[in-house]
């Protein structure tokens, strides 16, 4: 039987810092001992430069790296490891997708369709791609709860739409987009569908074939793995048509002074020495997910979300953004406190050991749409507790008084 107490004991930082209520999981998660041990064991017993060495140790490093690729493939239900590209993080994955897809598929006057709720990582690469190729970047609006309807989506698709890029779960509102429906609609118009899974892959089961996406980007560090390892899934038949992203070592087949032929998938997109330690950590994180199970994770995060919603809504002057239904939040709660700047809220909560995020959450177009330049965000993971939410709520209810207000 898995319970929260035993789970928290798996996380050295949580165990050693009971003074902290860590509620910034949408920014990055803490790491279980299993992940830290796996990275350490790799460097202590298997470290060598992979993919090129002709000695046993290098072969073992290569095996460790490719074993991680297979683990990722299984985790997201991809058809082949040729479709799994390791990157540094979701931002790099989306840059790779935007650059390479636009080189192959974008002509002047074509359209890229994204949503108003994208993280800057899924906005700026497309902005640049549109600029480079004379294409148009179009935005799908959402309502004030973050909802994008099928009708709304359909009305934004045109004969010139070549690429649709959309977040699976918003990092601000926590709302989930109906990726399966939208990807099918995009395909019916001949467009390629790119999903940003940075906030979904760590919290709900994601299967790329089931969702029908052509590309999926996510970061390891938001799902218990070390920082510096990320993934881009790409459908093989599309990846085969793309030019390389970065050029250099390990991505070539044959090089002359004037020209080169490039390595097979996925190595073509992984120039230079790769992050084996990070990949090994990601594989360990995936093992940890498998052991705890998404059934437990989803149930736990749902219970915590309901509790957080209830507590936050009871505090006077706290205004929650997005849906009034806890289930729509996926553990992400963004709010304001009347008359108090979010940075001051964050500082006061920090004095009580409550760690949350304040600012524009790298989603300025959405914040402009919602009419709040800056907000506070508390984001949960399955290892959080009701007691930590109590600490958040109690600290929050003192904020206005501590800032000199009478109530």
């Amino acid at each position: 039987m898995i319970d929260v107490t035993s789970i928290r004991a798996d996380f050295p930082l949580l165990a050693s810092r009971p003074d902290i209520a860590y509620l910034d999981n949408a920014a990055t998660t803490q790491k279980p001992r299993e992940v830290l041990d796996a990275v350490r064991a790799y460097y202590e017993t298997e470290n060598a430069n992979p993919l090129r060495g002709l000695y046993d140790l290098s072969v073992r490093a290569t095996e460790a790296y490719e074993s991680a690729r297979e683990a990722v493939r299984g985790f997201i239900g991809a058809a082949s490891t040729r479709e799994i590209i390791f990157t540094r993080n979701a931002s790099e994955s989306l840059n790779l997708a935007a650059f390479c897809l636009s080189e192959t598929f974008l002509r002047e006057g074509d359209e890229i369709l994204i949503t108003v709720m994208e993280h800057h990582s899924d906005l700026l690469p497309w902005q640049q791609a549109a600029r480079r190729h004379g294409a148009v970047l179009r935005f799908i609006e959402c309502d004030d709860r973050g909802l994008i309807t099928e009708e709304n989506f359909r009305s934004c698709l045109t004969d010139r739409t070549r690429i649709v890029a959309m977040t699976h779960i918003s990092n601000v509102l926590g709302v989930e987009n109906d990726i399966r429906t939208f990807a099918a609609l995009a395909h019916s118009r001949g467009a390629i569908f790119v999903a940003d899974g940075a906030q979904s892959v760590p919290h709900i089961p994601v299967n790329v074939q089931d969702l029908g996406v052509d590309f999926l980007a996510f970061s390891g560090h938001k799902m218990l793995a070390p920082m510096g390892i990320g993934v881009l899934y790409g459908r093989e038949e599309i990846l085969e048509k793309l030019p390389p992203f970065l050029y250099g070592g390990e991505m070539i087949e044959y090089v002359t002074r004037e020209d080169a032929t490039y390595a097979e998938l996925p190595h073509r997109f992984e120039a230079g020495t790769v992050n084996v330690g990070g990949a090994v950590g990601l594989e360990a994180a995936i093992r940890y997910y498998a052991r705890v199970g998404f059934h437990f994770i989803e149930e736990r995060e749902k219970t915590l979300s309901e509790y957080a919603m209830e507590r936050l809504c009871q505090i006077p002057h706290v205004r929650l953004l997005g849906s009034e239904k806890a289930a729509d939040h996926h553990g992400i709660f963004t709010f304001t406190v009347d008359g108090v700047h979010p940075h001051d809220i964050a500082a006061i909560l920090d004095e009580e050991g409550v760690n949350i995020r304040a600012g524009h959450h790298c989603a300025q177009p959405l914040m402009q749409f919602l009419g709040t330049p800056s907000t506070v965000r508390a984001s949960l993971a399955f290892y959080n507790t009701e007691a930590e939410i109590d600490r958040l709520a109690e600290a929050l209810s003192t904020v206005r008084r501590r800032m000199g207000y009478a109530d």
């Binding site: 700047h341 940075h343 501590r402 800032m403 000199g404």
Partner: protein, 146 residues
Amino acid sequence: MQIKSFYNEILTDHNLRPGNKHALPEANYELRGVNPSCGDDITLRLKVENGVIEDGAYTGDGCAVSQASADIMLDLIIGRPVEEAEALSGLFLKMVREKVSEEELEQLEEAAALQDIAHMPARVKCAVLGWHTLDTILVDLKALDK
């Protein structure tokens, strides 16, 4: 907790009831200061005659630290010669980044209430926004004199 609260009464009072947050039509110097990463945004206006800051005001929005600090700064420098304002600004920056003596702290009057900001590196930029804007105006002003 390891961090001492810096939201003292002087700070919250200047934030909620600023005395110098208003327009200043008679100003002859005006400069906007922005912290792009956190959105603090102030416009500082000064009326400087014969080397003396005769009046000053600010408008804008941002966190309590940025707003209160600008308000306290204006209380301190209005009526002072430009050189004194410059020296006080230097002292303030020294206070939030390193350490100042007891005598120096006294010269800063209410601005001394912000000294604990030094324990919050992420917030130093909020506290110094008004003062940096002031410094920039004073540098320009002296260049015009020459």
